[in-house]
């Protein structure tokens, strides 16, 4: 493959690829992101390839392993083109039938289709399923059409046209103006206007400049960047090259966390393929612009995702944030102007260049333009990655797309922004998602994690969880963060264990204020947010823990007891057998009693008691009722002859 030497050649080449692709040819696409791998998509892929060969269809049917489709709750996912028939939760055993009935006989297999939970109707086409229909998948949608290991797929859908347009038809300043006009704000958490960041670097008087992709995605529960980098690495690369051209950088880095091996693999393949096509390296598309990019792996530190820390890690040192007040777009990596942006931010750039800032700004709110990919996880029916226009309400995302709370449970809170964000209660479900809107409410956009919580989630424990996470991930350099979080963790743990005291909340608020004001980096200044937001909206839970030693959500182990309701127990012995601590006393027809001394509060009895009996109860803040006398423990069943 010889390099493509001009935009015109690129278009010729693209035409050539497209002409060889028959869009009416049957094609089985299988979601092959890491999440689907975890549900067995590799085995399904093997089964498909085997079955196609077996049925002699290798020439007539294409198989494409694509990037993440987003509906992770229902993986593995297959979409059969051209009909766009969408099948869910595929097992290898389903494949022969799929090939025989759907591919050969054009028949739809009902049991593999999506069922509308309200109407019971089966939905055949991917785009009609509510989960997808209610999204605006500008960036993420391409994942389903391309094999990330194949650059030709990306070219077939129009890839690298934006790069050609920028290099051949726009000056660097014009590119920056377009990005500024679009008001693209950083998708990694900071929400800083990308165009302004680029302009700062462009104007910095230095020959050497760097562009960096931040794929360190450390927020627990957020995996959008992983799926984007795994599923469509070329979109990210294209954005990066355009950005490099705009600021005058010739060297770039992709910093990927090592916990994402598939993303590392796919981005490395994408770089090699782009180099082979002359889209990276010297004299890109004959424009005279040179640019190379290297992949650098993270080694397991959340704080190294902070931009100055990331640059320090790229320099081979311990990835701790820098205390200096000089912006890194002026003095960043090796002291040079460096533009660092998040994966999703870069992936938006080709769209903006191709379709223009005016097109982009039609989506979103005044302050937040475009779309955002969220990872909708936790206590939600449709777990997955969703892309919505800024300005959609939390309610629509959680209910229309997410399908609401499973198990008939009640919504309690939604947590956004990861460890830097906050929990928003039911009263705020009408909030429109946007950078400023979320910040005003006491949370933040963050990288896009959206964790839904229900009535069984203890909000004090959520605050404790995030503080614990940060005490581990803090670099430990500055006092307010290291020592402040140390004390906050101790206090919050005490509260969840029933050792809370009057005055604890006030002390925690005082430490929070100092951490917010005086910490060295954003990890520290935003660390108190989960605590502050839960105190703001769920103060009653804190007070119950402290004053009544009661956990309203019946979750904190030290504050709950498991008790078997004697009126409901049918002495079936299931919990007795399953209890890992041998704490259930009883027998056939003898009502079971939990020995509170032995009980380890693992919750197994609660899980396994048949739902028709529902005899195991959790109680908190009150004493366990004393066991009933031995004589009353025998269940006398009425005999049939009566």
């Amino acid at each position: 493959m010889s390099p493509i030497n001009s935009p015109a050649e690129l278009e010729e080449f693209r035409k050539g690829i497209r002409s060889q692709r028959d869009l009416n040819k049957p094609c089985i696409t299988l979601c092959s992101g890491s999440a689907c791998h975890a549900t067995g998509s590799r085995e399904v892929a093997a089964s498909i390839e085997e079955e196609i060969k077996k049925q002699g269809l290798s020439a007539e049917v294409d198989v494409r392993k694509t990037g993440c489709h987003g509906f992770c709750e229902r993986g593995p996912i297959i979409v059969i083109h051209p009909e766009e028939i969408c099948y869910f939760q595929i097992k290898p055993e389903d494949v022969p039938e799929i090939v025989s009935r759907t591919i050969r006989e054009k028949q739809v297999i009902e049991r593999l289709l999506y069922t509308d939970p309200d109407t019971g109707a089966k939905i055949i086409h991917e785009s009609e399923i509510p989960f997808y229909k209610n999204q605006e998948r500008l960036v993420f949608g391409s994942n389903g059409s391309i094999d990330p290991k194949c650059i030709d797929d990306y070219l077939a859908i129009g890839g690298y046209a934006a790069l050609a347009k920028a290099l051949a038809g726009m000056t660097p300043v014009q590119v920056i103006e377009e990005v500024k006009k679009s008001n693209l704000r950083g998708r990694g958490g900071g929400g800083f206007p990308a165009g302004r960041k680029w302009e700062g670097s462009r104007n910095a008087p230095d020959e050497i400049k760097y562009v960096i992709v931040n794929a360190d995605e450390g927020d627990p529960g957020a995996y959008m960047d992983r799926s984007l980098l795994e599923g469509n690495p070329h979109a990210v690369l294209e954005g990066l090259i355009i950005g490099a051209y705009a600021i005058g950088s010739h060297e770039g880095y992709v910093y990927v966390r090592q916990e994402y091996p598939l993303a590392v693999e796919n981005v490395n393949i994408a770089i090699k393929q782009a180099e082979a096509y002359g889209l990276l390296g010297q004299n890109i598309l004959g424009s005279g612009f040179d640019f190379t990019v290297k992949v650098h792996k993270g080694a397991g530190a959340f704080v190294s995702g902070e931009s100055t820390a990331l640059m320090t890690a790229l320099e081979g040192r311990v990835g701790e944030p820098r205390p200096k007040y000089i912006r890194s777009n002026i003095k960043g990596l090796w002291g040079k102007p460096s533009v660092l942006n998040n994966v999703e931010t870069w992936a938006n750039v080709p769209l903006i260049i191709n379709k223009g800032a005016d097109w982009f700004t039609q989506f979103g709110t005044d302050g937040s333009k475009g779309t955002k990919i969220f990872s909708l996880v936790g206590k939600i029916t449709n777990t997955g990655l969703v892309e919505v226009p800024m300005g959609m309400t939390l309610k629509d995302i959680i209910y229309d797309i997410g399908g609401g709370i499973p198990g008939g449970k009640k919504f309690k809170a939604v947590q956004t922004g990861g460890p830097s964000g906050g929990c928003l209660p039911e009263e705020l479900l009408d909030l429109k998602v946007g950078f400023d809107e979320l910040t005003r409410a006491g949370s933040m956009m963050g990288s896009g994690g959206m964790i839904v919580m229900d009535e069984d989630t203890c909000m004090v424990d959520v605050a404790r969880y995030f503080i614990e996470f940060l005490t581990d991930e803090s670099c430990g350099k500055c006092v307010p963060c290291r020592e402040g979080l140390r004390q906050m963790l101790e206090k919050l743990t005490n509260i969840t264990e029933g050792k809370g005291k009057e005055g604890d909340i006030e002390l925690l608020e005082e430490i929070s204020e100092v951490a917010k004001e005086a910490s060295l980096c954003a990890l520290g200044t935003s660390a108190p947010n989960p605590f502050l937001s839960t105190v703001r909206y769920f103060r009653d839970e804190y007070e119950a823990h402290i004053k009544e030693k009661r956990c309203p959500a019946l979750s904190c182990k030290e504050l709950i007891s498991y008790h078997i309701d004697t009126a409901k127990c049918q002495a079936c012995m299931i919990c007795l057998r399953k209890c890992p601590a041998d704490a259930v006393d009883g027998g056939k027809k003898k009502i079971h009693i939990i020995d509170q001394e032995k009980c380890t509060k693992c919750g197994t009895c609660f899980e396994v008691c048949p739902s028709s009996f529902n005899a195991v109860k959790k109680i908190s803040g009150e004493a366990v009722p004393p066991p009933i006398p031995e004589e009353e423990r025998m269940i006398i069943r009425k005999s049939k002859a009566q």
Binding site: Y325, T471, E473, G476, V479, E483, L489
Partner: protein, 204 residues
């Protein structure tokens, strides 16, 4: 070097370009408390005690003066209700580790910090990092270093490394505000040297 004029606590101060606010204040005799600062070392920005307030027309901003560069017409306040509250909390958090440190106790008096605010922590070390940085930047020996991160972070002499690198110059001793460093040194030293009675018998 251009001259930069700024105001610190109402006093006109003339500083040179490239100086930090802390250096400018020190040159003008305005005291700002520090723990992790040392004139021979690169500014660290770890203790945050040197935090000051910058006054602008409509708003104030708090920055750490040991790393903030001087700017023309900057208006700096080294004490305020907010600043004092922050310093008090920082001291109380550190006193949980080293309640008897003379330096901390002196500062605690000025800011009304209560040494019993928090329960005592096991380690004396307050992570000012002076020992590590001095050994690295001035002595260029790297005998003592940081280990791990977050609340598990420690400063230690790793026996195999220290026994080779450390010259026993003990210039790090006077730097430590809490004597944690001296204790670590003595412990490691005793682990890596053999007392005479345990010398292997010589072959005679």
């Amino acid at each position: 070097m251009t001259e930069i004029r700024l105001q610190i606590d109402g006093k006109e101060v003339v500083a040179k370009e490239g100086m930090t606010v802390l250096e400018a204040a020190q040159s003008a005799g305005v005291p700002i408390p520090t723990l992790c600062h040392h004139e021979k070392l690169e500014p660290y920005g770890g203790c945050r005690l040197c935090i000051v307030e910058l006054e602008f027309r409509d708003w104030t901003r708090r920055v750490v003066s040991c790393v903030y560069p001087v700017e023309e017409n900057l208006v700096v306040r080294t004490r305020s209700e907010k600043i004092d509250k922050i310093r008090k909390m920082i001291l109380e958090l550190l006193l949980a580790h080293a309640p008897d440190s003379p330096e901390l106790r002196d500062l605690a008096q000025v800011y009304g910090a209560d040494r019993n605010r928090f329960e005592k922590e096991a380690s004396f070390c307050i992570h000012c990092g002076l020992c590590v940085r001095y050994c690295d930047e001035v002595k260029k020996k790297n005998a003592v270093g940081f280990v791990d991160r977050g609340i598990r972070k420690e400063i230690s002499f790793i026996p195999e490394i220290a026994s080779k690198e450390c010259w026993n110059c003990k210039e790090c001793f006077p730097l430590c505000p809490t004597e944690a460093l001296q204790a670590a040194y003595l412990l490691t030293h005793s682990l890596t040297s053999h007392p005479p009675s345990l010398e292997p018998p010589s072959d005679k």
